[in-house]
């Protein structure tokens, strides 16, 4: 465990010595903030109209009309930002030769991979944490339900962790961090849209398999405030499988030299 933490700590430190981490956190916070204001405006307008029509106090459900779309948009931002976070992870170590320091140290491959995973996950958690400031504002001026917000954030967090495991896998197979980033984005996008390929109303097996694979579909329930073990299991197996493939990939890279 201490080996894993040593790697995680090193990864985090490297994220923060470069402007990368600040740029990503900043970018994420700004885009989130913009979505936040846009949806807040929308809710305010709707509720004012509703208030005028009925003559009573605003009754628009903030969770339903604001947080759900907002979290959905955040997931899209993650799709764009997280590949940048993981792309350098392995690719850069291979390019600069520092991978030899790790490979010749008394660490197992799994420890190296888990360390890198935790490092990236910690940075992502910080990115997500910053956005909670906006949510806190909602609690000051309104009374949204806490439950769906928490479950929505859990869903985002799991989805982000899944993205990171894919990013690590692709970075481990690449020597160029640009390529790793672009390919990661492509692969994530595929998992994202995969459910659109089959018509879910047709009820065919292919369609339901595709829907099951889609990273996005499993997020739906979280954003509604439902924590279903089925979806938890999906994300956890997705992450585990991603990390497992990364171990295999690092191993085969070693064989190839």
């Amino acid at each position: 465990m201490s080996n894993i933490l040593a790697i995680a700590h090193k990864e985090l430190r490297q994220y923060f010595v470069s402007p990368m981490a600040y740029a990503l956190i900043g970018l994420f916070a700004i885009i989130y903030g913009w979505f936040f204001i846009v949806s807040l405006n929308f809710v305010v307008r709707v509720s004012m109209q509703a208030g005028m029509g009925m003559g009573g106090p605003p009754t628009v459900n903030i969770n339903e009309y604001m947080m759900r779309p907002l979290l959905g948009n955040t997931a899209v931002v993650m799709l764009l930002v997280l590949p940048m976070l993981t792309s350098r992870s392995y690719a850069e170590e291979k390019r600069s030769g520092t991978i030899e320091l790790l490979l010749s140290s008394p660490l197992t491959e799994l420890q190296i991979i888990l360390g890198k995973f935790l490092g990236a996950l910690a940075l992502f958690t910080a990115m997500l944490g910053v956005t909670l400031v906006h949510v806190a504002v909602l609690f000051i001026y309104g009374e949204p339900e806490l439950g769906p917000i928490l479950s929505g954030y859990l869903g985002l967090w799991l989805m982000g962790a899944s993205f990171i495991s894919v990013g690590l896998l692709i970075s481990s197979a690449s020597r160029n961090q640009m390529v790793a980033g672009v390919v990661t984005f492509g692969v994530l996008l595929m998992f994202w849209v995969v459910s659109w390929m089959g018509d879910p109303s047709s009820g065919s097996t292919t369609a339901s398999v595709l829907a099951y694979l889609s990273i996005l579909d499993h997020f739906e329930d979280f954003s509604k405030g439902v924590i279903d073990t089925k979806h938890l299991a999906y994300y956890i197996s997705f992450i585990t499988f991603g990390l497992f493939l990364t171990v295999k990939s690092v191993d085969s890279e070693r064989w190839r030299g």
Partner: protein
């Protein structure tokens, strides 16, 4: 301390290392000598567990690097060809991280890092970023990283490559100094380095071991004192048969003929000194003896001899008959 048996590494169709076996005893420095592409780096990466071998076994510090890699790695320090530095860390941060992943507890870490920095003389750049260091400092920080955890075995891939002469001498001294409590393998394609630093040498070429010995033995065994260079003025005769008939002589080759004098390389049986007999033969035939000296084969020659598959011998075997009789003991050109 290090035992390599029949290690082979193939990259697809390319065989980088082919059936290499050797051993290094405790406290020794082994020089791994070979031209570029010989397979030195590949062998070292196998020994340090960076890459698996296709075949064979390697035992380092008592542990099989394939069966118990973590135990073997704990006892090995490795300086790769390019020092594996994180450019965005300071030297101190970098070494602290290296200490941490080598299992040095937080209590001892500061002290070990300071010790390694002192040993490799990098204290004055301790707070500089690794990316901003000169080649000499990078190499030394890499070396500091390798010795941090006081490993039994040190594996150094071209530790003096790219250094200036002063740094080379310092690095060599440091390596010799380290040899006391570490077993060291260092690779190089520079010959004098091996002669000056190592107790034994392995010459590797195209992935295969072509010789294993001490630098001195190697020079001796492959020629050395057993070849005598002879320059005679045979007065138009062919000196070869007469010299070949001298007891103990195993072969005579004509190396050069010019201005009536003839330079010959005479090989003899090991341990027999044929110099007196050769001199007597030359003198009693009435020829002029211009030079007689044992031919010192340098490690360089041995290396070339071993690593060049076919030696081009385009020298003419027939000595030209000298048109002018000259009996001088001088070896300077004849102004004819």
């Amino acid at each position: 301390m290090i035992e390599v048996q029949h290690v082979t590494k193939r990259y697809g169709p390319v065989t980088a290392v082919n059936d290499v076996s050797f051993r290094v005893d405790s406290g020794q420095i082994l020089g791994f000598l070979g031209p570029n592409g010989a397979g030195k780096t590949t062998t070292m990466r196998i020994l340090t567990g960076c890459i698996p071998a296709t075949e064979g076994t390697a035992i380092v510090a008592g542990y099989d690097v394939f069966e118990q890699p973590v135990e073997a790695k704990r006892r090995t320090g490795y300086l790769p060809e390019t020092p594996p530095l994180y450019t965005d860390m300071t030297v101190r941060e970098y070494l602290t991280f290296a200490a941490r992943i080598n299992g040095i507890g937080s209590g001892a870490r500061r002290e070990r890092v300071a010790g390694a920095m002192a040993r490799t003389s990098v204290e004055d750049v301790a707070d500089r970023h690794c990316g901003k260091l000169s080649k000499g400092y990078r190499q030394r920080v890499g070396l500091a990283q390798a010795i941090l955890h006081n490993p039994d075995v040190l594996i150094l891939d071209e530790p003096t490559a790219g250094l200036d002469p002063k740094q080379i001498i310092e690095t060599r001294e440091l390596i010799k100094d380290l040899a006391g409590d570490h077993t060291i393998i260092l690779s190089t394609h520079i010959l004098p380095e091996v002669a000056q630093t190592c107790q034994s040498v392995i010459i590797i070429n195209k992935g295969q071991v072509v010789a294993v010995d001490t630098p001195a033995n190697l020079t001796e065994r492959l020629g050395g004192a057993e070849t005598i260079r002879l320059e005679v003025d045979p007065l138009g005769a062919d000196p070869e048969p007469a010299l070949a008939a001298v007891p103990g002589v195993t072969g005579v080759t004509v190396a050069e003929t010019a201005n009536g004098s003839c330079v010959l390389d005479v090989q003899s049986e090991r341990g027999t000194d044929v110099r007196r007999e050769l001199a007597r033969t030359v003198v009693s035939s009435g020829w002029g003896l211009l030079e007689l000296s044992p031919l010192r084969v340098s490690l360089e020659d041995v290396f070339l001899q071993l690593t060049t598959s076919e030696e081009p011998k385009e020298e003419d075997a027939d000595p030209e008959p000298a048109p002018e009789p000259a009996d001088t003991t001088d070896t300077t050109e004849d102004p004819t």
